[in-house]
């Protein structure tokens, strides 16, 4: 792999950038691999990378039915934070956050992790109670998160309307300074390049159509649009399509797949310095390095694999943005799109072994999986390599839906009373 650096760019500039090799190889599949990862999104590619890097398992294929990074990795609003309430969630998201810091150097690929701070707004007494509970828990868990008055919030994010004249005035906010954003495509490409460099095969346009198991029950490989490919272990990291893939192995999942939309505005000069989220009015906004306001919407109400949602969802998101940032009314929506998010009953992910020996699943990240990418790949690689979960993902089992030991962050945010 050619090292990326300013020097390399300067050298290449002299020959018209014709000397860059491919960032990742596109090989034909072997007949068998030690591990097959289904899904070349950020989580899947990261899993492959850490399998190779941390566990020395390089006979790995990542199978992708479309193009790598083309699912939710390339469709999300790239919010990164770890200020979750429960120990289990804070554990995995903060593990990821620590890996984000330094990921560019680790991968030799600038993923543009930008710790510009994530602010979450409180609009009523109940919000304050919920967010304060997070701050206290975060502090004792060693996760940074601080309380801001409306004035402090406005100092940190000048476009914020704290006038008190809005329907739901801002009465406070939390700020996680280590939170921020990253460049989503670069994350997929960086992991792909680094994994490929370590010998991992990334096989695009290769759709998995079935799984095969030995008479004893353990997994022996997958049928694909490029034929049967053998594998000792298979990890499913397919987000919205997880139910469909697991069904092939006769494992029914506690998952439903919903459309989730996002949008960007036309690019403008720097105006929005951080990430702002409001769960009460449903608004999630930041500004990309390119200058676009990046805005996340809510899910549609019905399950779907269409990667499309209703305009009314966009309208509702934009009205909330305009209410908090009334100067943005004259801005324009440039592009909107949809992804498919897989949601578990407790809205927390599943990273676990399955009832089928040799089959592992990493799914259920719902609307917030991007932020976990490095941490998720790291501990999932451990789970596959060792056939047992890492301490950090041990609570994120499939069995919890049977025992009731849920990790329900959303329920903990409760509802207005």
């Amino acid at each position: 792999m050619r090292k990326f650096s300013a020097f390399a760019i300067a050298r290449e500039a002299l020959r018209g950038h014709k000397g860059w090799g491919v960032q990742w190889a596109s090989p034909e599949p072997r007949s068998e691999y030690d591990v097959i990862i289904i899904g070349a999104g950020g989580h899947g590619l990261a899993t492959a990378y850490y399998l190779a890097k941390e566990h020395g398992i390089t006979n790995v294929a990542v199978l992708e039915k479309g193009w790598l990074g083309g699912g939710n990795t390339g469709r999300n609003t790239t919010i990164i934070r770890s200020n979750y309430l429960y120990d289990e969630s804070a554990g995995i998201y903060d593990h990821a956050l620590k890996l984000w810091d330094g990921l560019s150097q680790d991968l030799n690929y600038n993923v543009m992790y930008s710790a510009r701070g994530v602010m979450m707004l409180a609009h009523n007494v109940h919000d304050v109670q919920v967010l304060q509970r997070h701050i206290h828990a975060n502090r004792l868990n060693g996760v940074d998160n601080e309380w801001l008055t409306p004035e402090q919030a406005k100092d940190y994010c000048p476009p914020l309307n704290i006038s008190g004249q809005t329907r739901y005035p801002v009465i406070g906010a939390t700020l996680q300074r280590r939170g921020g954003t990253a460049r989503h495509d670069a994350v997929a490409w960086g992991y792909a390049r680094a994994a490929s460099d370590r010998g991992v095969h990334i096989i695009q346009n290769c759709e998995v159509t079935g799984t095969r198991r030995a008479p004893q029950g353990h997994i022996i490989g997958v049928d694909t649009s490029k034929g049967f490919i053998g594998a000792k272990k298979v990890g499913v990291v397919a987000a919205g399509h997880t139910s469909v893939l697991m069904e092939m192995a006769d494992v029914r999942m506690p998952l439903e797949s919903y459309p989730l939309q996002a949008m960007v505005s036309e690019p403008v000069k720097p105006v929005f310095p951080c990430v702002v989220m409001s769960n009460t009015v449903h608004a999630y906004i930041s500004q990309s390095d390119k200058g676009e306001l990046v805005i996340g919407a809510g899910t549609d109400q019905y399950t779907s694999y269409s990667q499309a949602g209703g305009l009314h969802i966009i309208n509702h998101t934009v009205d909330a943005i305009c209410e908090m940032f009334p100067m943005f009314r004259r801005m324009k929506m440039l592009r909107s799109w949809g992804g498919i998010v897989d949601v578990t009953p407790d809205r927390s992910p599943i990273l676990a072994k399955t009832p089928v020996q040799g089959l592992y699943v990493n799914c259920g990240w719902g609307t917030g999986g991007f932020k976990a990418t490095p941490g998720s790949g790291h501990v999932f690689a451990h789970t596959i390599a060792r056939d047992e979960p890492h301490r950090i993902n041990a609570p994120f089992t499939l069995e919890r839906f049977r025992t009731g030991r849920l990790i329900d962050e959303a329920a903990a945010a409760a509802v207005a009373h």
Binding site: A6, P267, R335
Partner: protein
């Protein structure tokens, strides 16, 4: 101020109607009907912007919505500044103020243009490869500088004072595009009587007839015919014609979203007019007549100001009467550009050469050009240009190479061919198919009830197009269920225009070995070289190429660039164009203003503000309100000099010493009626209900099927077949939905109906030792004695002469009543009760005192002390669970292993041994305060207050195994010290409960 490039007698604008405007502070004159672009061109101004990455000088490429270059800021006043406005679309109005963007200090002298010199370093995706060392510099240095250099216009910095509107509409046939195809289809569909909507993005629909010359329809000049057709359609009751309106999104089941620009063209808009209007149209059938967009030729430095699309040059000439130059070259790969040459020549503009990539061009356009003596350089290419801020010459070379011959020009019109606008068709999830001969994607298999006609369907011949449009109009009406009786309109047309042919990809001189910058995507500065580099780096999917180079991701969304980019990538990959695939067309077609998307939803209309019947009284008394969901609730009633703490303490004290009035109207109320009402309640609540006597009340707990607490409330049994159920304020809607769900789908055999009466009744809680004395004088027909009306009973009677459902119940631990009266009487009854209350020294109290008073008694608030993960047992409400009942919702769920396991969090009380420290709600508890972070947390504070009545702070907390920790010391580590607390029971006041009854 004469406009030097305006040609007298040419175009359709009226010379008498002059309009003044400024660009970058300089004053100009234009004509009514001009766009900002045509007016600037009339004044000889081509340089209007700077590109995104290299800050290269840019002029106008087009005359329409596909414009990638000419983006400006338009300022009406300090608060009405709009960035990134396409000058080619912005209609001129008197006093318009426009400024150029992305340049410093000025448009002509832009320091950022240094990027252009350093451009070899800024290759596609360069930023992924560098800025990684030293690590800290990304945040502090690299990223801020990248961000400052990026972006185009400047976002407004003041709240937008304009307003926006919206409308839902339905029609039989929606026709998108008012060119010859759309107008014809509309005429054909309209005469059937079907409900028609026709939308066009221009002020005057005409489509290509706007710039064509020589086309005659129905014996009229094309433009005149279009305007007559518009008049005809406007005169029909069943036709709704929307101009200045863009169909920007095609959503599922034929919902098409339109944005109508209402005032952007007006100098002084009338105040009532919205700036823009969002239309959400549900059409039975959709006809797409969206036309085609011309592509530019890809050659070195093809971005210089003065280089434009041929159709744009024609549009400015034939419609606006503006010559884009005095000496205009043509570079083409198809026939249509010849007509531009002919029109210019006939208008007296020098056309020194037509350079045609084809070896042997033929056709009426070619003949006409030849007849006018315009030199045609066939089989040759423009491989470069001279001039920086304006093109000064085009460099012509034979296709195979050889000598480069510069031909001086001051403008250059190019045409690589026409790209059908399949955006909306593709958004509708229709599949496009590649037409290899025409080098274009055309609508293939549709997914919705729509049809494409005209240029967007690849129908180039005018006669074919007319019959296609007539057929589509009639068939759409028929498919929408309208009888189509007569034969339909007959139209005859003549035209010499030709739209077919052309090329995609890089032209000669922009091939893989070339050095110059041949732009594919102007705004994002994507060159042919960048696309090739992306492929070399392994980007095989067109989506990867797009994202790596940002081709097609600028504000024009690749309208002119996508096909070129695709062709170059395909060539590099050695694949056929359709095998590489097309990037997804995403809504919106052109950018849509946030204000229009949000439309009415702002201020009062952002979300309903719900106020109780008693709200005006509380407001008059100076109450401080809080938002609880959509409701405004009085939080406390400060008297002069009181802060919240003092007011709440006084209210709490007064309620226990005398009494207090509390507005509880926001509680949800559901009337459950029918012979099976009690059986239904048995299934929906944990408690037993069958034996509850009419006239008595019971506190009920509702679980979800998973066994966790969902809601709670007091239920009064009014009669054997009628119960009055109360819910939490926030739970009102979802509890009714939950109950309806079970009733309709799981227990439909039960004879019971549910009706929301939340807003039928205003509810006044009168709580405290004097409560009975306060209500007694006003109540008729109810014996209020303890014997006749004990705690937890309900009676119907009258108060102040109006009907009441009077509950004896308490959320304070005091003797208490809740007076329900029909809502319109709420304020009057409250005022009457207030008059009585004052006699007894009682007060009005708000939600904050209510919270303290109930916490003193250990009563939980669902949603505060519980959080969706608590069972009845966790919060000490085992007693309310009917364990002998065969079934109720949540019974099986709460028996799951983890819900009955040891070590669950349980509700306890906490006391601060110092008697002073009020804990913070949400603070977490640990057993060992000396452990290191991350600490093992065993619980958190759910409610915490200063209790004036107890004389010390009180708190409720969920603590692991809390019920077995009574008397234990626990610790609350805070940023500035650890607080020691003692675990207690949850009842802090009147533990025996005698005040309830006394």
């Amino acid at each position: 101020m004469s406009a030097p490039y305006r040609i007298a007698g040419k175009g359709r604008l009226t010379p008498a109607r002059a309009v003044r405007f400024t660009f970058d502070g300089k004053h100009y004159a234009g004509l009514e009907g001009d766009t900002l672009a045509s007016a600037l061109l009339a004044n000889g101004v081509h340089l209007v912007g700077r590109s995104f990455k290299y800050h290269r000088p840019r002029g106008f490429l087009s005359a329409g919505a596909e414009e990638p270059n000419a983006l400006v800021g338009v300022h009406r006043d300090a608060a009405r500044k709009t960035p990134n406005v396409r000058a080619t679309v912005q209609e001129l109005y008197d006093g318009l103020e426009a400024v150029s963007q992305n340049r410093w200090p000025s448009l002509a002298l832009d320091v950022g243009a240094i990027n252009d010199l350093a451009s070899p370093l800024f290759s596609a995706g360069f930023y992924y490869k560098t800025f990684m060392w030293p690590k800290a510099a990304w945040k502090r240095f690299y990223e801020p500088n990248i961000r400052a250099a990026a972006g185009l216009g400047v976002a407004p910095d003041q709240a937008d004072p304009d307003h926006y509107a919206a409308r839902y509409a339905h029609c039989d046939v929606l026709i998108v595009g008012g060119g010859v195809a759309g107008l014809t289809a509309a005429l054909a569909a309209a005469e059937t009587g079907a409900r028609i909507m026709l939308v066009d993005e221009q002020a005057e629909p005409a489509g290509a007839l706007r710039y064509e010359s020589g086309t005659r329809i129905d014996g009229q000049d094309g433009w005149d015919w279009a305007q007559a057709a518009v008049q005809t359609l406007r005169g029909m009751d069943n036709v709704h014609l929307l101009t200045r309106t863009t169909a920007f999104g095609y959503y599922t089941q034929n919902m098409v979203a339109l944005s109508e620009r209402v005032t952007e063209h007006l100098a002084e808009p009338q105040q009532d007019l919205p700036r823009e209007r969002l239309w959400q149209v549900r059409a039975k059938r959709v006809i797409l007549a969206t036309g085609a967009i011309e592509r530019h030729m890809v050659f070195a430095n093809n971005d210089r100001p003065g280089i434009m699309l041929a159709s744009a040059g024609r549009s400015y000439l034939n419609h606006h009467g503006v010559a884009v130059g005095r000496r205009v070259g043509i570079y083409t790969a198809n026939d249509s550009a010849y007509h531009a040459a002919v029109d210019l020549k006939q208008a007296g503009v020098d056309v020194p050469a037509i350079v045609d990539l084809r070896d042997n061009p033929q056709g009426p356009g070619v003949d006409a050009a030849r007849a006018l003596g315009i030199p045609i350089h066939a089989g040759r290419a423009v491989v470069g240009v001279a001039g920086r801020q304006r093109v000064t010459a085009m460099n012509v070379q034979a296709k195979g190479g050889g000598a480069v011959n510069p031909i001086p020009v001051d403008a250059l019109l190019t045409s690589a061919g026409w790209t059908p606008s399949v955006h909306l068709f593709s958004q509708s999830r229709g599949k496009v198919a590649y037409d290899d001969a025409g080098k274009r994607f055309l609508p293939g298999v549709g997914a919705q009830d729509c049809v494409s006609i005209g240029a967007c369907n690849g129908t180039d011949d005018l006669d074919d197009l007319l019959s296609e449009a007539i057929k589509a109009g009639r068939e759409a009406a028929k498919a929408a269920g309208i009888a189509t009786g007569r034969a339909g309109p007959k139209l005859k047309a003549t035209s010499s225009e030709s739209w077919s042919g052309g090329m995609i990809g890089a032209g000669p001189g922009a091939d893989a070995d070339s050095k110059g910058k041949a732009f594919v995507d102007f705004q994002n500065d994507v060159t042919a070289k960048d696309i090739r580099q992306a492929v070399r780096e392994g980007m095989q999917s067109i989506e990867h190429v797009k994202r790596f180079t940002t081709n097609g991701m600028a504000t024009d969304q690749g309208k002119t660039s996508n096909l070129h980019g695709l062709a170059i990538a395909a060539e590099m990959l050695g694949k056929a164009v359709p095998a590489v695939g097309l990037t997804t067309f995403r809504a919106p077609y052109t950018p849509v203003t946030f204000g229009a998307l949000a439309n009415y939803s702002r201020g009062d209309q952002f979300d309903p503000t719900r106020r109780t019947a008693i709200h005006p009284w509380a407001e008059a008394k100076g109450a401080v309100f809080e938002d609880v969901g959509q409701w405004k609730r009085a939080r406390y009633f400060p008297r002069a000099g009181e802060d919240m703490f003092a007011a709440v303490n006084r209210e709490c004290r007064t309620v226990r010493e005398a009494a207090g009035l509390f507005d509880a109207s926001t509680l949800g109320k559901i009337e459950v009626v029918g012979p099976d009402a009690a059986s239904f309640m048995e299934l929906l609540y944990t408690n037993p209900w069958q034996k509850l006597e009419p006239g008595r009340c019971r506190y009920g707990i509702m679980l979800r099927e998973d066994g966790f607490i969902y809601d709670d409330g007091v239920v009064g049994r009014l009669a054997p077949d009628r119960s009055h159920v109360t819910t939490t304020t926030g739970g009102a809607a979802r509890v009714l939905n939950h109950m309806e769900d079970y009733l309709q789908t799981e227990f439909p055999h039960l004879k019971v109906y549910l009706t929301s009466v939340s807003e039928q009744w205003a509810v006044i809680a009168v709580q405290g030792p004097k409560s009975r004395e306060i209500i007694a004088p006003l109540v008729e027909g109810i014996d209020l004695s303890d014997a006749a009306m004990p705690h937890m009973s309900v009676r119907e009677g009258k108060i102040c002469g109006v009907p009441t459902r009077l509950f004896r119940m308490s959320f304070t631990g005091e003797r208490g009543f809740e007076v329900n009266v029909p809502a319109d009487y709420g304020q009057a009854v409250w005022e009457a009760l207030w008059a009585e209350a004052e006699k007894h020294g009682a007060c009005a109290y708000g939600t904050e005192a209510m919270h303290v008073l109930r916490a003193e008694k250990g009563y939980i608030i669902v949603g505060q002390d519980t959080d969706g993960t608590a069972t009845a047992s966790d919060v000490g409400l085992d007693w309310a669970v009917g364990k002998k009942k065969a079934d109720f919702v949540g019974k099986r769920g709460m028996a799951r292993p983890d819900l009955v396991a040891a070590g669950r969090k349980q509700l306890v009380g906490l006391r601060s041994p110092d008697g002073k420290t009020v804990l913070e709600e949400g603070a977490h508890l640990v057993a060992d305060p000396n452990q290191k972070v991350p600490m093992t947390m065993i619980g958190h504070v759910t409610s915490s207050y200063w209790s004036e009545n107890c004389g010390h702070p009180i708190a409720l907390a969920m603590v692991v195994d809390g019920h077995n920790r009574m008397g234990e010391k626990l610790f609350v580590p805070m940023p500035n010290g650890t607080i020691e607390v003692e675990v207690t029971g949850t009842v802090f006041f009147d533990e025996t409960g005698e005040r309830l009854h006394g």
